[in-house]
Structures are given as C-alpha cells and as structure tokens.
C-alpha cells in the first residue's frame, strides 16, 4: 500500500483560483492551481486559511474532490448557514484570487484503484466529495475494480455531481450507483425516497461475504447509522473506514 509522501511540518502554500463551478445552489467547486503541491490521494483533505486585513484568521478543512492531477487541487464547498468561511468561498472568492492551503492531510481515509476491491462507498450530503475523488480516480484507471456507491441527498437539486455520476455509471461497467433523495423527489423518480437504513444498504451494497473495503462519509449521525448497519449486515468493522463531518457537514 502506498504511503502518503508527506514529511515535515505542513507549510501553508499559496494557490490561485482558476475556476469556479456551481454544483448546486449552495455547493461550489473551487479549482486551484497550487505550485509545489505535493500530490494527494483520493480521500484526503486540505485546510484552507483566510486572513482579514486586520490579521484575523479563520481556517476550515475541505475534502479534495479530484484525483491527483499535478498542481491542480479541487475542493467542493457546501454553504453552511451562519458559517464564517463557506459564505466567503462561495459568495466572494473570484477567479484570480489567491488563497492559502496546506495538505494533503489524512492517510487513513484513502483509496486508489491499486488498493483493489470490491469497494463500498456510502455518502451523506457533501460526504460525497472525498468519495467522488475515489470514483474519479477509478474512471481514470485501467483497473476495473468493482465499486458500488450509495449516495443520499435531500433532493435532486441538492445532489452534487448528479450528471457526472449518471454519465460514469453508464460508461463504467464496474461502477454501480444508487441514490436516495430523502425530502423531495421528482415525479418520475426511480430511486429511494427515505433515509438510509439497513434494508437499503442490504439492497445496494456488496454482501459481507465479498469483504468489501468500505468508506462512509457525511454528517456524524449519518455515518454512525450507516456504519452500525453495515456491521449488522455482517461486514467487518475493521474494513469500514469513516470520515465524520460533524453536525452540519464539511
């Protein structure tokens, strides 16, 4: 297994915003060009730091949305109500602005196609971001590792990367995606319409006998419920890795 190549103190690097992509009404992807970026693994995150003119600083962690791509780092940020950093990143930050970041951080919650599978991904809301980095790495790879994703969102409007996931699931034989929209569903909706529960996991995830590598990401309550249900379905707890975002998400 690859070791993450981070050595020494984490230094703050200065990146430039090269693109901004509206994913949903409240979620935006920020494409950064970061000289000296040490390369990252899918699943890792970065810390972003903002400094006001009077020296006041605020810092938050965001999952990296893209697989390793030289000096390009993409973070997908969800607007947090009454937040301090996300309203700035989503509402104010412009192409050409500079921003400080450090990382990559997190050698535990990582997966690359070289790690093999089968892989079970379960995402709640913006918990999909690090898992999308894994799926995008899969799409770029020659290895046909079988991957199943179950992703939960409140509605179609709040589902991130919807079009890309649909495109990838039809172009990749080894990727299966199931969706649940918990609050509002379009009239022709074919997916699930409730919160993730054991039955839904039983229907959409690899059987325990396949011994999949599991990655669960999202708000703390969501991760607890899903992890407990996967264990109840017979999965080995040691093969389930979790990344909790806290109460409100990333």
């Amino acid at each position: 297994m690859e070791r993450t190549a981070v050595r020494g103190r984490l230094n703050w690097l200065v990146a430039e915003v090269v693109d901004l992509i509206d994913e949903t009404g409240t979620v935006k992807s920020i494409v950064l060009d970061c000289p000296d970026w040490p390369l990252h693994l899918p699943g890792q995150h970065v810390d972003i730091r903002l400094t006001a003119e009077d020296g006041y600083q605020a810092q938050r962690s965001y999952s990296i949305a893209n697989p390793p791509a030289g000096e390009k780092v993409v973070v997908t940020v969800e607007l947090v109500d009454d937040g301090e950093v996300s309203p700035y990143l989503i509402g104010e930050l412009a192409v050409g602005d500079q921003i400080e970041l450090r990382g990559p951080i997190g050698g535990y919650f990582v997966w690359t196609p070289e790690h093999g599978g089968p892989v079970q991904l379960v995402a709640g809301g913006s918990g999909l971001v690090p898992l999308m980095a894994m799926i995008r790495a899969l799409a770029e790879s020659d290895r046909q590792v079988p991957v199943r994703l179950l992703t939960s969102a409140r509605s179609r409007e709040t589902l991130i990367y919807g079009d890309e996931l649909r495109r990838l699931q039809s172009s990749l034989d080894n990727l299966e995606v199931a969706y649940t929209l918990t609050r509002a569903q379009p009239a022709d909706w074919q997916g699930y319409s409730r919160r993730v529960d054991q039955q839904m996991l039983a229907e959409t995830s690899w059987p325990a006998t396949e011994r999949p590598l599991g990655f669960v990401c999202g708000p703390t309550g969501f991760v607890e419920t899903v992890a407990a249900n996967l264990v109840a379905l017979g999965h080995d707890a040691a093969r389930i890795k979790t990344e909790r975002f806290g109460p409100s998400g990333g």
């Binding site: 200065v14 730091r49 400094t51 003119e53 006041y56 605020a58 700035y88 104010e92 412009a94 602005d97």
Partner: protein, 201 residues
C-alpha cells in the same frame, strides 16, 4: 507571512453591544454543543449531587431532594473560550449559596466533579454571593443532556468551561487543584473580560 484574503471580513458584528461582549468574542444565536467526550446519560432516580467540606463532611441530595430546594430564575450572558458569546440566556437553578447554607467552611476553593469524570476549579468567592448556580432548567425546559442535563453548574462570570456539565459533586478545599482543562493549558481562573484563555495569559 500570511496573505490577505481579498474581501474577507470574518465575523463582524457592528451591532453587538460592546459593553456586553468581552474582547475577542462574537455573538451567536446558536447554543453550540461542545464536549470533551460522550454525553453521559444519567437517570434521575440514580442522580445525586454531593457537597463535601474540607473536613470531609458530606451533604448530598437526591433528585427529589434537590428539586425541593428553593430556586432562582436568572438571565445571564455566557462566554465560551472558543469565542462565542450568547446573550440573555435564561436558566433556573439552585444558588450555590443555598447549597452551602449551614455548611461551616474556611476553605478558599471549590472543586467541581462531573459524571463523565470532568473536573474544574474556581475560588469559592466566585461561586458565592449570587455568582453561581446548579441549574436544571434552560430556556423554560428541563436542561437537555447535550447541554449538561440533568443539572450543570453555571458560573457566568467566567469562561463557560468552568460551568461544568453533568455536575455530580462540589468539593470545598483549602488548596486549589487544577481541573481538566486547567491542567491541559487553559487559564486557571478564566476571566473573559481580561481574556484569560490560556495558562500564562
């Protein structure tokens, strides 16, 4: 040397009443739930509060006995060292003065213990004469476990880590003894108006 983030202002509250907001704090309408560990769940039939004097003499109250004590309704501002301040929070509880009624003591310090093993410490003078309560009602409702229920200490004049949640015991002591956060590098006293956040401030 950090670069300046164009247009970033952070939390700026021009309309916050500065005389009520200690230095470095911002006003929140939330009530953040912050804890060093899992929320203990204590059933009322097993709950008790003990008060131990420096001579070892102990008084204790069951929930029924505690509920029979005279209470006060208070509205206070609370300040957390993580920089949020919440104005006009309303509580109901038993004054520490009431708990100390009839207890002979010459001790100078109050050591506080919680059900999850948490501890904190403060001068007795900062817990008496109407400065501290053991509260069990917040905003008109029974205090919820995530905010310290069934009962928590409330010492509004100091940073909120001194207002121990899930309070179980109060110990009068002649010697000061650092509690959990005081021992890990937070200020021993914790006056928000002097911004005494960390040891050495």
């Amino acid at each position: 040397m950090a670069i300046i983030s164009r247009g970033f202002k952070g939390r700026r509250q021009e309309d916050a009443p500065r005389d009520r907001v200690p230095p470095g704090q911002y006003v929140t309408n939330d009530f953040p739930v912050l804890s060093a560990g899992p929320t203990p769940l204590i059933s009322l039939d097993k709950w008790s509060l003990s008060l131990t004097s420096e001579t070892g003499q102990t008084t204790s109250w069951t929930w029924d006995e505690f509920s029979a004590l005279p209470t006060e309704a208070i509205t206070v501002d609370i300040h957390c060292v993580t920089k949020w301040t919440k104005l006009d929070t309303s509580w109901e509880g038993v004054s520490v003065d009431t708990l100390l009624d009839g207890v002979q003591t010459s001790s100078g310090f109050l050591l506080v213990e919680s059900y999850d093993g948490y501890t904190t410490n403060l001068p007795l003078a900062d817990a008496t004469n109407g400065k501290a309560w053991v509260t069990h009602i917040y905003d008109g409702e029974p205090l919820r476990p995530e905010h310290g229920g069934p009962a928590r200490l409330l010492v509004p004049r100091l940073y909120l880590w001194k207002s121990a949640k899930w309070v179980r015991g109060l110990r009068l002591s002649s010697a000061d003894q650092r509690g959990f956060w005081e021992g890990y590098g937070y200020h021993n006293y914790g006056d928000p108006w002097k911004e005494q956040r960390y040891a050495g401030d």
